[in-house]
Every structure is written in C-alpha cells, then in structure tokens.
C-alpha cells in the first residue's frame, strides 16, 4: 500500500488504466460520467421496452397481449426504471463529465465515493429487475407505491424493492454530496458563484434537493417495511395510522424529485440556446434566482398530487396557490430563453433543435400542469390519461430531450469526433414526431375520462390509443438510431476543434477535444 501512496504523485500524468479494471477501480470523473451515461442508456432501453409492452397492450381495447397482473408490473417498473435508472443517472453522468471541467477543477471532490455511487446502481437495478422472476411477480403497485396497495396487498418481492430503493437512495445521496462539495470547494480562483455556468448552478440546487429528500424516501420505505413485516401501523387506520400519511411522505419526496429531474435540463438548455444564438444568455441572474425559487417552492406543493384524497379545504387552497406560484419562476426561464434567441444569429444544429423543442414542449407540459393545479379541475383530471400526458410532456421532451441535446452538444468534447449532423437531425425529427404523436392524444382521452393504469378501456378511447401506440413505437425505434449515432461518433468521424461550436463559451471549450484524461492539474486562469 505505501508504495502505491508514494507513487501517487506521478499518477495524474498517466492516462487511463487498461482493461476492465479501468472501469471497476476508476476514480476519474470522466470515466465515471461515461459509466453513468451508458448505464442510464441501458435502463432507458429496458424501461422503454416496458413502455412498448404497455402501448402494445393498449393498441386495441380488450385484453390482447399480457395478463393484467403483468401489465401492472410493467407500469410499475417502467416508472421506477425511467426515473431512478434513466433520467437521474443520466444527469449525474453529465454532472460528472461537465461540472469539474466547467469550474476548472481536476476532478470531483471525493473521487472514490464517486465510483461507489455509480457501482451501487447496477446492483440496485439487478435486484429490482430480478423481482420479475420471483414468486408473486415484480412490484405491481405503480411507481408511487401507495399504501395499502404496496403494504397489505403487495407481492413478497416488495421487500426486495424496498432494499433496492434504499441503496439507490444511498447512491443518489453520495452522488449529490459529491456534486455539492465539488461546486462549493473546487472552483478555480475567479469562478465566483454568480459567474458559474448555469449547468453548474442547476446541479448545485439539484444536489441540495437530492440530499434533502432522498432520506425522506428512505424513511417512507422503512415505514412500509415495518408495516409489512414487523407489525407497525403507520399506514393502517385500524392501529391509528393513516394510508394518506404515506402519500404525504411520499410526495414530500416526490415533488422535489420532479424538479431534480428538470433543473439540470434547465441548465443544459440555457447553454445550448446561448451557443447557437451566438448571444450572451438573457437574464443570467434571474435564471439563477428562478431556479432557487423553484427549488424552495418544491417543498411546499407536494399535496397537489393528493387533491382527491380528502384533504381539508384550507390545505387544498394553500397547495393550489403555492403550485400556481411555480409558474412565475418557470415563466421567467421560458421568457429568458426566448429573449436569448430574439435577434440572435440562430443556426439549427441537432442540440439546438432538441433545445428549442424542449422549450416549446416543456411549456405545454407546464401549462397542463397549471390546469392540474386547479383543485376543482383536478377533481376531473385526477388519475386520468391527462395526467399521464402532462408528466410525460415534462419528462420525455423535457428531461430526456435535454439529455439528448446535451449528448449531441458535448459529445465532440468527450470523444473528439463530430457526430453525423444529418443522422442527428433525422433522429431529432423522428423523436419529435414520435413524442407528440404518442403523448398529445393522451390529453384528449384523458379529458374524455380514460383512467390511467388499466390494461383495458372503453371503446370510445380506441382511436386515439391506437395513434398513441403508433407514436410510441416510432419514438422507441428511433432511439436505436440514437445508439447508432453515438457509437459511430465514438468510433470515428470528423475531428472536432477545441471550441467545437462557434458561439460556445466556458472553460470546457478551452481544453482539447477529446478532453484529456485529467483536465486541469493546475487551476486555470479565469477572468
């Protein structure tokens, strides 16, 4: 061991280690970022395949392909995998790659813990997926796992689900602590808080939210575990508890969680729109304050997910107004993005297409969210496909489009090669059309009264469900094209310049493409 310690001064002159151990033992933020991104893409495909099972079943009314029990397992695992395995690790991967480069740091603050945060995830999702093969099947109570469906009536695999959530949470907390500490402690001299790139700001706030709410989720699943196996009565009225208590605790976690999945997207889109507008971002400080306000508000809006459970009137009113208040900072952000593009010298490379689609489609999701925030309206919309349309509009063309935009935008810096612009645009248009064909009709069937989470439906919903399923398969298949484009870019292609994009600003564009294994061994000069 001591020999290793003495050698370590020379270590950062070395490149990556060879073979599999490079990935198993790595402490390098770029390696770990890559691991996160590939892992999340694998989960995206698995979760996507489950979505296609759902859409295939819903292609026509009546039971066609799967049993209702299996359908329930699919909707549950689809949600859990996309949120905890797809979107969140993708953003952590981007944070790993970008935050140190953007603030002029050599690496993440706690590099070994960084690797631990990643390697927990494959095991956690192995446990979750293995529950499909257990007696009684996988968790079947929806990703929100409301009690008593997830306690009294749960399959035995719920225990494995609980512990898998525990270690996923541990991974998220460690990852978030790492990001916060990196941003607070590792900025190069001159990178003051209000000079930080917006992606870094967005992740600072996201990490704070993660550290604040992942432990609450751990508390919720712990109470479930105790109720199921050890006789407590947190969620059982017979013993003086309350099933609604579960919903309060869950959504106290769940609503900040929603912003955990969108704030980094705000950061990404701000960078891309600035670059391809060839203008300075409009309203930098208002962007920061808007994100901070959204984060703070996210702690006082949770019960808008529960308007129909029988809350006291005062609570319904409070949570309605608090929720509507979020439209203000969100509106500031949308306004700033549009103002940045206004009179800019715009070009429409693939990342910019995804970013503009983000602004438009995320706004649609935001507006349907505003409709859902209105208590009397929500009594109608609650648990219908309108809600499904709403959150898929903010998550797919919101979070996931921003991740794809980020990959196209930064992959020349990561790999040193330009992606194929024609294929990228093709991927964009297929995804854009696919997403809208899938989810826009769900607004209609939702408003017409189709409930979510059922494998069968009334005949009047048949047409739009068929359209939606066609769109889902189009969207799903076009992601294979994304995989192909990324592989092609990693393996070769036109060499990227250091700056890559004409209008790109920021420290990451000052280093070589591909970025050297250790970016900054001494602090860069920042004015």
């Amino acid at each position: 061991m001591s020999a290793v310690i003495e050698n370590h001064h020379d270590d950062h002159h070395h490149g990556p280690a060879k073979g599999l151990t490079r990935w198993l033992y790595t402490t390098n933020h770029k390696d770990i970022g890559t691991l996160y991104l590939w892992f999340s893409f694998a989960m995206f495909l698995i979760g996507g395949a489950m979505a296609l099972v759902i859409r295939a079943e819903l292609f026509q009314p009546g039971m066609q392909i799967v049993e209702p029990e299996f359908y329930n397992q699919m909707i549950t695992l689809h949600g859990l995998i996309m949120i905890f395995g797809g979107v969140m690790p993708a953003f952590v991967g981007l944070a790993n790659w970008l935050v140190p480069m953007m603030i002029g740091a050599p690496d993440m603050a706690l590099p070994r813990m960084n690797n631990l945060s990643f390697w927990i995830l494959p095991f956690a999702f192995f446990i979750l997926l293995s529950s499909l093969f257990m007696e009684g099947g996988a968790p079947n109570f929806g990703w929100t796992f409301y009690a008593p469906l997830s306690t009294t009536y749960a399959p035995p695999s719920v225990t494995f689900f609980i512990f898998s959530v525990h270690i996923m949470g541990a991974s998220s907390i460690m990852g978030a602590i790492n990001v916060v500490v990196t941003i607070m402690n590792m900025r190069a001299p001159g990178v003051t808080l209000m000079k930080m790139p917006l992606f870094v700001w967005s992740w600072l706030i996201t990490a704070y939210l993660l550290i604040a709410v992942m432990p609450v989720l751990a508390g919720a699943v712990t109470m479930m575990l105790m109720d199921i196996h050890f006789g407590t009565s947190f969620f059982n009225a017979a013993g003086g508890g309350d099933p609604v208590l579960f919903q309060h605790i869950f959504w106290f976690f769940g609503h900040p969680e929603v912003y955990i999945m969108i704030l980094p997207a705000f950061g990404i889109v701000s960078h891309i729109i600035e670059t391809f507008s060839r203008k300075q971002l409009f309203g930098y400080s208002s962007m920061v304050w808007a994100m901070l306000s959204i984060a703070i508000l996210s702690f006082v809006v949770w019960a808008h997910h529960m308007f129909t459970v029988g809350l006291p009137l005062a609570a319904e009113l409070f949570f309605m107004w608090a929720t509507m208040l979020i439209a203000v900072p969100t509106g500031v952000k949308v306004f700033n993005w549009v103002a940045t593009m206004f009179k800019g010298s715009l070009t429409f490379e693939t990342p910019m297409l995804f970013a503009i689609a983000f602004v438009v489609l995320f706004t649609i999701g935001g507006l349907s969210g505003l409709m859902l925030a209105i208590v009397p309206a929500d009594f109608q919309y609650h648990d219908t496909y309108f809600v499904v349309a709403h959150f898929h509009y903010v998550l797919v063309p919101g979070a996931i489009f921003s991740i794809m935009a980020a990959v196209y935008y930064w992959i020349p810096k990561w790999s040193g090669n330009m992606y194929d612009e024609r294929l990228g645009k093709l991927h964009f248009w297929l995804s854009f059309i696919g997403v809208n064909v899938t989810f826009f009709p769900q607004h209609f069937i939702g408003l017409a009264g189709m409930p979510r989470r059922y494998p069968d439906y009334a005949l009047q919903f048949a047409d739009w469900n068929m359209v939606s399923s066609v769109g889902a398969f189009l969207f799903g298949v076009s992601q294979i094209l994304f995989l192909f484009i990324v592989l092609k870019t990693v393996m070769g292609g036109k060499k990227a310049t250091d700056q890559v994009w004409e209008g790109a600003r920021g420290l990451e564009w000052t280093v070589a493409s591909p970025a050297p294994y250790h970016t900054f061994t001494t602090p860069p000069k920042v004015d």
């Binding site: 490079r22 033992y25 095991f123």
Partner: protein, 304 residues
C-alpha cells in the same frame, strides 16, 4: 504538494468492494425478512456475509484514508472537502429523522383526531360508522380497532408526572446523553490545547456514557415489552415510539462506535494533532447531532 497542484487519487478497489458488500447485505436482508417464518432458510448467512464484507471494506478504506493523510498527501482543499462532505451527510441524516418526526406530528395532529370523529374529515369518518367509540388521545392506548388486529399496551412511556420522575428512565437517558455532549466538547478543548491526557480521558468518559445510554435504552425496551406490553405491534403509538427511539438508538451506537475508534486511534496510535484532527471532529459533530435529535425526541415523544 504546492497549493497550485491539484490532488487526484489513484485507482481504488474499495468502491466496487463496497458496492458488492451492499448488494450482499440487501439481498441477504430481503430474503431473511421474507423467510422469517421459515426456520430452514439459510438467507441470513448472506446477510452476515454482507455485513462482514461491509465492515472489512470500510476498515481498509478508512485505514487507507488515514494513511494518506498521515503521509501528508491531503491538500488543504481535500481536507475542506471532507469537512463539507460530513456536514452535508449530517444534513441528510436530519432529513431522515424529519420523515419520522413528520409522521409523528401528522398522526398526532390529524390522523388520530380524525379517526375519533373530530373536525371536517372526522365527520365523514364517523358518518359512515368507522371506528365507532374510538377516543382520540395521545398516547393512543386503545387503537381504533380496539385491539382486534393490534396488541394493546397497558402503559406508555410518556411523562409519569413529577412524583415518579426519578424512576423514569428517559430522564436519566437525557442526563447521560446531554452530559456526553459536554464531555466530548471538553475532550475537544483538551485536544486543541495539546493536552492528550485530557482528550483521552474525556473521550473515554464520552464513550462510557454512550454505552450507559445504550444500556438504559435496552432496559427501557425490556420494560416496555415485558412489563408494559408496549411493542411495535401496539398501534401507532408503539410504531412511532419504537421507530423514532430505535433509529436514534442505532445512531447512538454508530456515533459511539465512531468515537471509540477515535479514542483507540489516539491511545494506541497517537493520532490527532492540536491543529489537525478532523476525523475526531467529524465524529463529535455526529455526536452533537445525535444529541440534538434526542432533545427533540424527549420533547415530542416523551414529554408532550
């Protein structure tokens, strides 16, 4: 290492070992819990293997961190990272307890009164004849189902009145734990003044108080289970009581263990200098945090 050069550690095997340990631990825990009724199950061996791997990995990982530190490899920046990291970790622990305190406040302020028919929501519950005759009180001694599903306790752990205050274990526990926060502070002062004897003595007293606390807590649980019939199965009062005090007790054990490790490092290896002792400081922060949680528990679980 000059201030102008950054620190980047070499590759490490610890993270992947730790991830595998956690995997064994949770797989073992899940299958053990699912097989509690099955005496032939061997799942607990996986759980023990996971625990053993976890402790072993943590031992060697921390040893490595300490070695690097003693070899002078840590930059000031890295030291600050450890400080921030510990602070945010404690914040995450605060939020974990917040979930359980939130549950306690919710059932006391809303769920239990509603179940007895109070308020706007309670009217609906009593109108359909649910839980007839259930009286709202805290501690809830008679559950809404009047013990059909749950085993009713005869006595709670709540404040027994001034006449019985001295026989009341939670009061002694409070005295023990608050004193230990003071003694760990004295140890810190001793260390800062370069007085290792004082440091060792007061840290030793602190660890002793931690042990006494855990012992008293065990006695309290014994009394609750055996004499009061108060168990996890006694409805919402038992649920909140045991989960809050249980997780607190578990954190006392972890914090006490950390302090014991620090004591051993000081006594047997002569670690820590007057200006350089964050390992100890982190453990003492954790100890103060555990203490603050207890004060909250004492107020909201026992007294009020």
């Amino acid at each position: 290492m000059s201030a102008q050069t950054y620190y980047v550690p070499e590759q490490s095997r610890f993270p992947i070992f730790m991830a595998v340990s956690l995997f064994l631990l949770v797989m073992g825990a899940s299958s053990t819990i699912n097989n509690l009724d099955n005496p032939d199950s061997n799942s607990s061996y996986i759980l023990y293997a996971g625990l053993a791997c976890l402790f072993t990995t943590m031992f060697f990982w921390f040893r490595q961190v300490i070695k690097e530190h003693l070899a002078g490899l840590d930059s000031n920046q890295l030291k600050t990272s450890y400080v921030y990291g510990m602070a945010w970790f404690i914040f995450s622990e605060v939020m974990f307890f917040a979930a359980f305190f939130g549950a306690l406040f919710y059932v006391r302020s809303f769920a239990v009164p509603w179940l007895s028919g109070e308020g706007e929501n309670g009217v609906g519950i009593s109108a359909i004849g649910l839980w007839e005759g259930f009286e709202s009180s805290w501690p809830v001694m008679t559950t809404p189902d009047k013990g059909a599903e749950y085993a009713l306790a005869e006595k709670s752990m709540a404040w027994p009145g001034w006449g019985h205050a001295l026989e009341w274990l939670p009061l002694w526990n409070t005295i023990v734990l608050l004193s230990s926060s003071v003694t760990v502070h004295f140890a810190h002062i001793g260390l800062k003044n370069g007085d290792r004897k004082k440091f060792n003595r007061f840290l030793g007293i602190t660890v002793g108080l931690a042990l006494i606390f855990v012992g008293l807590q065990a006695a309290e649980y014994y009394e609750a289970y055996v004499h009061y019939g108060l168990t996890l199965n006694s409805g919402i009062y038992g649920s909140t009581f045991f989960m809050l005090t249980g997780f607190h007790g578990f954190h006392v054990m972890m914090g006490g263990f950390m302090l014991a490790v620090m004591l051993a490092r000081s006594v047997f290896a002569g670690h820590f200098e007057d200006h350089d002792h964050f390992g100890f400081e982190a453990a003492s922060w954790y100890w103060h945090f555990v203490d603050v949680v207890w004060v909250m528990l004492f107020l909201f679980v026992y007294i009020l």
